[in-house]
């Protein structure tokens, strides 16, 4: 790592602190925002997330090498951490820190995008089932029962086998498609109670069609639990991606994802523990931050629950 990488890394930390400060100022205007930050782990969690997102965006600046670059395949395999390679090198003589920084793009990206897919489908299915009730509800919920009966990683392994070499966007889509079942149940439960409320009846009486009633009146009121489950779900998606990549069925090598970095480093765990340990630590930290922020969001968005 040269001096500029360190400066960039410091810059990322400062940027993350700024993000937390700005969000805190914005949030202090509302009661739920203050509740959010009263949660002791909310600010640190937000900082960790902002830091890793900044590192992902600024990967070329904070990483001294390209993620695929095999620095010196003869002499620099499995090197322990040093000033040159802060987190050491992996069995293929690649800089672990550089791969970690670029890998943040893939791992965080997959987590966020796959969750977006899952929340969109889960929200649509849950809202449809809960709003229209009847046979549509029954059919959709039986589908959800089937989806939930299959352990997700098992379902993913079977489906991923359809491809020889899976592209990352396909992987994102597949993870999203296997991850919406629980969300749809949650949304359905919310919609079931909301649809009986007076303001929904009023909207209907004013002549609003089902699409408008659901989109403008029902779903916005069901947003809180959806947001919370999404925040907590990103972590699960990241763990799933890591597990799949670890089994060699996720993000294809040599693209760096935190999961396949663990897979790459695993065989040399005894001589070079750093190449599998640091990516795992990064996953744990980010998932922990997501859980912390998710917990705080739940407390903040649920006014019945005064902050602990």
């Amino acid at each position: 790592m040269n001096i500029w990488n360190w400066v960039a890394l410091g810059g990322a930390a400062v940027a993350a602190l700024l993000v937390v400060a700005v969000v805190r100022r914005r949030a202090s205007a509302s009661a739920s925002g203050r509740r959010f930050f009263r949660h002791p782990t909310a600010a640190p969690g937000l900082f960790v997330l902002a830091f890793f997102v900044t590192v992902a965006v600024a990967a070329p600046l904070v990483a001294p090498y390209k993620p695929y670059q095999q620095i010196d395949i003869d002499h620099l395999q499995n090197r322990s951490p040093s000033t040159r390679n802060v987190l050491g090198t992996d069995p293929f003589s690649r800089d672990v820190w550089s791969r970690l920084a670029y890998g943040a793009r893939i791992s965080l990206g997959i987590g966020a995008l796959a969750m977006l897919v899952a929340v969109t489908i889960g929200g649509a299915v849950g809202a449809t089932a809960g709003y229209f009730r009847g046979w549509m509800d029954a059919a959709l919920m039986r589908l959800v029962d089937v989806g939930l009966a299959m352990p997700r990683i098992f379902a993913m392994l079977v489906v991923v086998a359809l491809w020889d070499h899976i592209a990352v966007p396909v992987l994102v889509l597949l993870i999203g498609l296997t991850g919406w079942f629980a969300t749809s149940r949650l949304v359905r439960a919310e919609v079931l109670s909301l649809r009986e409320r007076d303001f929904v009846a009023a909207a209907r009486a004013l002549g609003a069609g089902p699409g408008r009633v659901i989109g403008r009146h029902v779903l916005p009121n069901a947003a809180a639990p959806i947001i919370v489950s999404a925040a907590l779900g990103i972590g699960n998606v990241m763990l799933l991606e890591a597990g799949l990549s670890f089994l060699g069925m996720g993000v294809p090598s040599p693209a760096p994802s935190w999961g396949n970095m663990i897979a790459d480093g695993w065989p040399k765990m005894a001589v070079a523990p750093w190449s599998a340990t640091f990516p795992g630590l990064a996953i744990s930290l980010v998932v922990m931050a997501l859980n912390a922020v998710g917990d705080a969001l739940r407390d903040a968005l649920d006014p019945r629950k005064e902050a602990v």
Binding site: A161, F246, M269, P273, I283, S284, V287, M288
Partner: protein
């Protein structure tokens, strides 16, 4: 009540059928076949053809599916191409391993999780609560297989306290048939069970802390204290009983978690259970092992939620009245 049970069981069978059907068609559509070109270097094309015919792979997919269902109705799960033995036998060998792993993990999960959760709730906002809360959050956020690798590195590779993998010593204890071999089995079981159990316990502790806190603040707990009951009795008899109700949900959810976790943990520790069997079968396109594993896992998940519902009915009279 009986009508409810019958309906639930029928729905469960329908769910398992749907999962098996989906798995059947997806895995058959997957690239490659059980008889791969690599093998054909040593096996002539004629032999491959004969093998395909022998296993019925030359027929159309709907035909194969009908045949599979018909065999399934007779209780036959088919034949494994790779292991060259009935799928039922392979599953029967693997299931006890996953069962004991899951049992040991659940034991660690629930005892440690409950104890920590209750302790944290009782000592709310103390140093111990905050420290344990953050540790639990961290452990709960780890990829299970990564924790497995770390434990393996620390306790097996560096300290040599535990073996690096496998279910038993292959030389001294090929079968578990004597006391030393039983101890050997437990010795091999410790790290995988600890890996799964710790991650689960962290989640249970977080959950149970919240459940206990909710109950502790209720009026009837104050009443119990006002009656002059000892604090231990108030907490463990009056409060805990109601705080355990949401815990039942966790019991149902633990099944899928353990099965999912087992897939990866079994790979890390070369533990010959369902997870390892399923992963290998998927990679080798061993069709009937995959569908058989899907059958068993979905049955276990469905069973888990069924048991949770029944436990609810037993534990909470309000639900019994409504469910009956």
């Amino acid at each position: 009540m009986i009508a409810w049970v019958v309906r639930r069981v029928a729905a469960s069978i329908a769910i398992i059928w749907a999962v098996v059907t989906l798995t059947f068609f997806v895995i058959h559509a997957a690239r490659g076949s059980p008889f791969l070109p690599e093998q054909s270097q040593s096996v002539s094309p004629e032999t491959l053809d004969r093998l395909r015919r022998q296993f019925g792979l030359d027929r159309s997919l709907p035909e194969q599916y009908v045949l599979y269902l018909r065999n399934l109705a007779r209780g036959e799960l088919g034949e494994s191409f790779v292991l060259r033995r009935p799928v039922a036998d392979a599953l029967a060998d693997a299931m006890p391993h996953t069962f004991f792993l899951a049992l040991a993990a659940l034991l660690i999960d629930f005892t440690a999780g409950l104890a920590l959760g209750i302790y944290q709730a009782v000592r709310e906002r103390s140093v111990g609560d905050v420290v344990l809360g953050n540790v639990a959050l961290f452990v709960n956020s780890m990829p299970t297989f990564w924790l497995g690798l770390v434990l393996l590195l620390g306790f097996a590779q560096w300290l040599h306290w535990f073996p690096t993998g496998g279910p038993s010593d292959p030389v001294l204890c090929p079968r578990v048939d004597s006391l030393p071999c039983l101890l050997d089995f437990f010795w091999h079981l410790t790290l995988p069970a600890l890996t799964l159990g710790l991650v689960g316990a962290a989640g249970t502790a977080r959950f149970q802390r919240a459940a206990m806190l909710e109950v502790i603040r209720q009026e009837y707990v104050r009443t119990a204290r006002a009656k002059g009951l000892r604090e231990g009795r108030v907490l463990l008899v009056h409060a805990l009983r109601n705080a355990l109700l949401p815990f039942i949900t966790l019991v149902g959810l633990a099944f899928p978690f353990l099965l999912t976790g087992a897939v990866l943990v079994e790979t890390v520790y070369s533990w010959p259970g369902m997870g390892l069997l399923a992963v290998r079968a998927i990679l080798q396109r061993d069709y009937y092992v995959v569908t058989g594993a899907a059958l068993v896992t979905s049955a276990m998940v469905v069973l888990g939620s069924l048991i949770a519902d029944l436990l609810y009915a037993v534990a909470d009279p309000r639900i019994r009245v409504r469910g009956a």
